[in-house]
């Protein structure tokens, strides 16, 4: 993937030299042409077409924002409810992710999901201990985290 980005940058700079105008606009046009070339020639270039991965990163960012808004609304609902009927608690979430980078992303996403806050990560990185606002639906939130977040993160990093 870094190789393809470098090729793309070189193509963009070459386009600037070919058209002999050195500004951002020409660079952008060159970059877009480079993307088109890479797309057409992807059979001859090692690794998969890199924009596909960029699209997945974009998906992850959208997921991040959606969860943020949802959790905000959830918290505001709790704040303005006249009587606090919550059952806080800490539950363990086993995770399959391995590297530092993936675990960091997952912990951040958990903190931004409605009603959960990642508290401690075990020393061997296999379990994340999560503080939940309402522990009654633990099973549901575990499956949700596993299905949506872990999958989205794995698609980006692997």
């Amino acid at each position: 993937m870094p190789f393809q980005i470098v090729i793309n940058l070189i193509l963009a700079v070459m386009w600037m030299f070919l058209s002999e105008t050195y500004n951002f606009k020409t660079f952008l046009v060159g970059y877009l042409l480079g993307i088109a070339l890479l797309f057409l020639l992807q059979r001859f270039i090692p690794d998969a077409f890199y924009l596909r991965k960029v699209g997945k990163v974009f998906n992850l960012i959208l997921l991040f924002i959606r969860e943020l808004v949802l959790s905000n609304i959830d918290i505001v609902k709790h704040v303005y409810r006249p009587k606090l009927d919550i059952q806080p608690g800490i539950f363990a979430l086993p995770t399959e992710l391995k590297s530092n980078w993936e675990i960091t992303l997952l912990a951040n996403l958990i903190t931004l999901t409605p009603g959960t806050l990642s508290l401690v990560i075990s020393d061997d990185y296999s379990v994340i201990y999560v503080h939940a606002m309402d522990i009654t639906d633990v099973e549901e939130s575990i499956t949700e985290i596993k299905e949506t977040f872990e999958k989205a993160i794995m698609e980006v990093t692997r």
Binding site: I86, G89, A107
Partner: protein, 123 residues
């Protein structure tokens, strides 16, 4: 003629994002006051404040652009860094609170981490 309409819509957009931001920040403050213990308060402090600050900064960005024609990159960067740092702050504060043995509130029903720590100690 259409210019007036666009200006009105932009004004409404700006005020709306500023108001929403303020609303979320006020809710955060109320939440921090109302919730029973450190951990639930952290829920309030880390979550709704992010959207609050995002709303206010977006309003400021739109205002700068519409009124003065300035595209303020600093404000956009501010939003980005708030979004990145708020969950990390929440995690670190919660972790250090737990390690300095701040008790969970009486309403809490479950603590699987405590069970895990006890198990490790026995070995």
């Amino acid at each position: 003629m259409s210019g007036i309409w666009i200006n009105a819509v932009l004004d409404i957009l700006i005020s709306l994002s500023l108001l929403l931001g303020t609303f979320f920040i006020v809710s955060t403050a109320l939440g921090v006051l109302r919730f029973p213990d450190v951990y639930t308060r952290l829920h309030a402090a880390t979550k709704s404040s992010t959207l609050g600050i995002t709303g206010i900064l977006t309003g400021a960005f739109l205002f700068m652009y519409v009124e003065h024609g300035i595209v303020s990159g600093k404000l956009l960067l501010g939003i980005l860094f708030i979004l990145l740092s708020a969950p990390v702050t929440g995690h670190v504060l919660g972790r250090s609170a737990y390690y300095s043995r701040v008790p969970l509130s009486d309403k809490s029903v479950e603590d699987e981490y405590k069970a895990h720590v006890n198990k490790v100690k026995e070995h």
